[in-house]
């Protein structure tokens, strides 16, 4: 019936044995992939002494939060880094969801001269490697507009990601047009159609989009690294990198910093797991 052989009633033990073996194999591989994370968290509770290579172990010998204190004591802006990341990631997330819904709806359900052309532009934009735009963007932000070390510089380039518009358009196309038509006959304006009909029907996909955007923006390193020279404007990822390059031998504090940078995402992941796992397949598998 399925890919795997179906064992009869008197052969049930064989099925159990097979699943047991598979589970064992999977647990081993899973343990290997999770190991770096486990190692990071466990090591962060070590003492903030200079590690000469020998002092780390797989099982915590002593439990102390001193390394976290060490990390936060390194820069007076370390809390600000987390705050900066929060501000940037939240703003980018909100703007992406709002503008992707509006533009996605326009491309999916409205007909206006040039709509095909603009959508084509969007697809082309998605394929441009970031290496091509990085230098001109840097010159634009730093040399021309002179807005480095501002939230505008951190946020503006990702205010709306073409991929999200594309995703929204793909999903909205599958919504029945008749609902929107009848709403229009009832005198509903286009913005109200988006707000009252499209958004409620697309809650899942928009949540997925919000979460994936937030995750990506929280973890992004490259652009904030380019445009934030002042410590107080750095995001947690950039601050973490600077911390570790200045304290290469302080193993436990480095892991504490890494744990801090990852913790908000882990909390988010375990509370909204469904959306994360769904988010991966959105856009990859049809249907």
């Amino acid at each position: 019936m399925g890919l795997y052989k179906n064992y009869g009633k008197n052969q049930r033990y064989r099925k159990i044995l097979r699943n047991l073996l598979l589970a064992l194999l999977l647990i081993t591989i899973a343990a290997l992939t999770i190991f770096p994370i486990y190692y990071m968290v466990i090591s962060s509770f070590g003492a903030p002494t200079e590690a000469a290579g020998a002092s780390y172990s797989l099982i915590p010998k002593n439990f102390t939060l001193d390394s976290y204190k060490f990390f936060f004591g390194y820069s007076k802006y370390s809390f600000r880094w987390i705050l900066n990341s929060l501000i940037v990631a939240s703003t980018v997330t909100v703007s992406n969801v709002v503008f992707a819904s509006l533009a996605g709806y326009a491309f999916a359900k409205l007909r206006f001269p040039g709509c095909k052309f603009f959508f084509f532009l969007l697809l082309v934009a998605m394929m441009v490697p970031y290496q091509v735009t990085q230098v001109p963007l840097y010159i634009l932000v730093v040399n021309v507009l002179k807005i480095q070390d501002t939230y505008t510089a951190l946020i503006a380039p990702t205010l709306i990601t073409c991929y999200n518009v594309f995703l929204a358009k793909q999903f909205f196309t599958s919504l029945p047009t008749s609902i929107m038509e009848s709403a229009k006959i009832e005198g509903c304006s286009q913005p109200m159609i988006v707000w009252k009909i499209v958004v409620p029907l697309s809650k899942t996909i928009l949540s997925v989009m919000a979460i994936m955007t937030f995750l990506g923006e929280w973890n992004t390193f490259f652009w904030p690294f380019l445009v934030s020279n002042q410590e107080y404007m750095q995001t947690i990822q950039v601050g973490l990198k600077n911390f570790s390059f200045a304290n290469t031998t302080y193993f436990a504090p480095m892991m504490a910093g890494a744990t801090i940078s990852a913790l908000p995402m882990f909390i988010l992941f375990f509370s909204l797991q469904r959306y994360f796992l769904e988010g991966v397949t959105v856009g990859a598998v049809k249907g």
Binding site: T33, P129, P136, P157, C162, S244
Partner: protein, 305 residues
Amino acid sequence: MQYPLEREKTMANKKHKLKKDALWGYVFILVPLTTFIIFTLYPVISAAITSFQHYKPLKTTWVGFDNYVSTFKNALFYKALKNTLVYTVFAVPISMFLSFSISLFILPFKKRVQTIFKAAFYLPAIASGVALSFVWKWIYDPMPTGLLNSILHIFGISSQNWLGSSKTAMASLIIMAVFSGLGTSIIIYIAALLGIDSTYYEAADIDGASFFQKVRYVVWPMVKPTTVFLAITGVINGFQSFQNAYLMTGGGPDNATTMAGLLIFNRAFKYFEYGEACAQALILAAIIAVFAVFQFKLSANDVEY
């Protein structure tokens, strides 16, 4: 007489409505379009122009094809391309083979168990690349007491200078990339596997197909679109990879891990040769485009079912 008049009226009304809808269409795409023009279209055009210039904040001079010529004369450029190719050619197929096998193994379990495994494999993708790079740097500690070294000692393998030797540095980066990126492709593969109709298996059962035959002749062709998708996105990402090399090896030792992304970054932000960096970036973009089209064409030939 009343009928045509009314019809005319509704037609006019409809036309008016249509115009209004079109207007809303433009309003709705205004912000994305502006963002696109400022942050994608302008930079692309600017990159093309800058690639023919010697950029200085106040005195920019035209140099014709000089940037392209010096790029093609640069031995490091070819080394970086070769490294990028090696990285991609190993990391992408290994990662895809592993995730395909793992998703096959996850398949017989109940939905809840599947979710647990999916979450476990996906976890590293949630941690930031910066955090992961630090952990892996310590895993690859070259000292005999280093984590990976001390584990390998148990099996009688002598200590390696993982990231510090040009023999193992690239392999170390590939292993790290594979392990950190498995989750995404596993989840995508499982979704594809669950989409295969059970009648196909029934038909294969009637023909007396073994498990491996079913995988080869039913599953593999059925998930081909997914494989193509993963291969293309994997290659595109592989060609653009920058962060791990930058954070873990800095391109060393002896440029053994300098890949295209890092080469361009260094050109631009270490040596401030903006023009040459733009030229290299455009060459990379062209290579990626050719590869993507080629891969797509190659797979499109036999993807129709």
